[in-house]
Symmetry: C2
Subunit: 205 residues, 2 copies
């Protein structure tokens, strides 16, 4: 049985989670600037006093959401590191990313983050911290792919990774911005683009 | 020699242009919501009364900027229609897009537009109106490429176009968000991704 201290920790974590979920919804709807602590506390159904026990400011909530995203991303890349086939592992990760980001709230939060990161150096540093983990994970997979002969050894890994992230984020945004596309066709063509891009000349799928 | 009416038109157009340029700078810095008419008039160095003679509201300035972008895009696609080689024409257009969007203001405006379009149905309709012209122009080039044997006839043109737009917009955003990349390497790998993606299996470059 959990001790009283454990149970207090759990309640605290659940409350923080509740505030972060409410904040995601409000940020997606109103943007970081348009959202007030008042909006977030209303969305979470809490008093302002209660919310301030968990987060001192809107910026602290944004930082907590960025940290939660970082941990989620780290988990996805641990899975990629364990995948037997690095290219299939990358494809599985891309499919999961595009699935998870399919809800309008996910893409709106992501667009707002990029937009704000372009204006605000602090947000850019936070965004780039998360991107560095993504880059490192993708670099490990591509280098493993070079060893197995699945990835072109002449590919500039640093730039290739930026283009792969660009394609994934761009796809997520354009999917949300325009009319719905057939999921199977989208995934098949996304994979075609990535697989052909990274393959050595002699073994393009 | 221009008549008095022509010269009045020219002055009017120059003043509208001056306001739109100022608004772009302010929107890139503060976002659509953070920007006030007061900020725009200060940036343009005009009185509020003078500004209101040209635009009744911030929304009218945004609409005028979107329309100017639409015309600029249409011009780029007229060039693509005239290009002898449709694939080389697409590559030239992509290079021009990535060059023009390289200044931080261009990418910040674009990110802000997408972010706002995900929240606001009116902005989404405006964004999608511009995207429709891009899509139609890319579809014409890809279909010409199918005829010349440069583009895979089995490619789903509708989805392929969305992915190409996603890659271009994503590249523009990620380039601005992260450390600088070597321009030549970036362009070469961007082209590799597009050329290999669209090519028929038998003639992948």
């Amino acid at each position: 049985m959990p001790s009283n201290a454990d149970s207090a920790d759990q309640t605290r974590e659940a409350q923080r989670q509740r505030i972060m979920d409410a904040a995601r919804a409000v940020f997606a709807r109103s943007g970081f600037h348009g959202a007030s602590i008042q909006d977030i506390r209303a969305e979470a159904g809490m008093s302002a006093g209660n919310l301030y026990r968990y987060f001192p400011s809107k910026e602290a909530i944004i930082a907590a959401i960025a940290e939660a995203d970082r941990l989620r991303i780290a988990g996805m890349f641990e899975e990629l590191d364990r995948a037997e086939d690095p290219v299939e592992g990358m494809m599985a990760l891309a499919r999961r990313f595009l699935e998870e980001m399919q809800d309008p709230q996910g893409s709106a939060m992501c667009a707002e983050t990029m937009s704000e990161a372009l204006r605000n150096p602090e947000m850019r540093a936070m965004f780039w911290d998360n991107m560095k983990d993504v880059q490192a994970g993708l670099a490990r997979a591509l280098r493993r792919g070079v060893e197995t002969g699945q990835v072109d050894p002449e590919l500039d890994v640093g730039v290739a990774i930026r283009l792969l992230m660009a394609l994934a984020d761009g796809t997520m945004l354009h999917r949300a911005l325009g009319p719905e596309m057939d999921r199977g066709t989208l995934m098949a063509q996304f994979e075609r683009m990535v697989r052909r891009f990274i393959a050595p000349r002699s073994s393009i799928p």
